[in-house]
Subunit: 184 residues, 2 copies
């Protein structure tokens, strides 16, 4: 089967293709969609998948992810991408200066919908800490300041970052399980 992934991010498409290999063909599709006003990525992804599936009559997958920092009440959260463009890693590190609780979580919500059906959503999370400075150039977004639990390295310092990242993989694997149960 073929699934249309509504995203502008080629890095995400590569991650999806690897995990869905043999299950579904993933085709990137550049579609704009309106977001419901919510701080919950699952709600955002589910709603967007539903709207796009009905509008285009195709099986649509949408992914909404973000970095949620405990001591900043979940900032930057669902708006991680636009906020990253504005204040960069430098801004996040400045907000975290002198803050001892550096706990955070990456969250990925994958929404999937076929036209005329109910939308489903799958959440993948991964706990970590915010490093004291940006390190490494692998990955994208906040990867250079995110240290996964039990690791002293940021994802930016991780050469195979696309394989290493767990949060998005967890969400996509839940989708894979669901597709298999459905008999795809």
């Amino acid at each position: 089967m073929k699934i249309f992934f509504a995203t502008h991010n080629p890095g995400k498409v590569r991650e999806f293709k690897k995990i869905l290999d043999g299950i579904a063909d993933v085709e990137q599709i550049n579609l704009e969609y309106d977001e419901i006003q919510s701080d919950n990525p699952e709600e955002v992804a589910k709603d967007a998948a539903k709207k796009l599936a009905e509008k285009y009559g195709k099986p649509i997958v949408v992914e909404d992810s973000g970095l949620f920092i405990d001591s900043l009440n979940g900032f930057p959260g669902v708006h991680s991408a636009p906020i990253h463009k504005q204040i960069g890693l430098k801004g996040i590190l400045k907000l975290m200066e002198g803050v001892s609780d550096r706990g955070c979580e990456y969250r990925s919500a994958v929404g999937y919908c076929e036209s005329g059906k109910k939308a489903v959503t799958f959440l993948g999370t991964e706990k970590g800490t915010i490093s004291r400075e940006a390190r490494g150039t692998h990955g994208f977004g906040h990867d250079s300041i995110f240290m996964p639990e039990g690791s002293g390295k940021t994802y930016g310092e991780t050469a195979n970052v696309e394989d290493a990242k767990k949060f998005r993989r967890k969400a996509v694997e839940k989708l894979v399980e669901w597709l298999k149960e459905k008999g795809c």
Copy 2:
């Protein structure tokens, strides 16, 4: 005539009622709406007014406003309200520590639409600077760190802040002019 103002913010409703007094009755209406993904408040307000007017068959006004800080590439911008809940004034002040360019702008976009008609939008702006610390308790949002151009006082220190704020007033007054020209 009666206009339905889709907002959860009673402070904004008071401001609108004062300016539209004698022109239109403003009734607050608690509606949720999806936002297009844009960093332009005019696009957000216009699109939301259109969607709500068509959905509810009523004349709808929507206001989207935010604080745009020059040295932070427009942060917090269109997401000012949710970001304020997460990092507060403290977060903005921390990001501005040691920053000499403290220029910023309040922007308010008022979108208006009657069912079956084209949506219109009106922008009001007001330049200012970010204060070194939060001062005063009047107003809401970022008012306690916003010093309008030519003033040494923040809006938080301004007792008649609802009358003093120019950006939202400018946008609403443009709407009033437009309604008058239309013969309302």
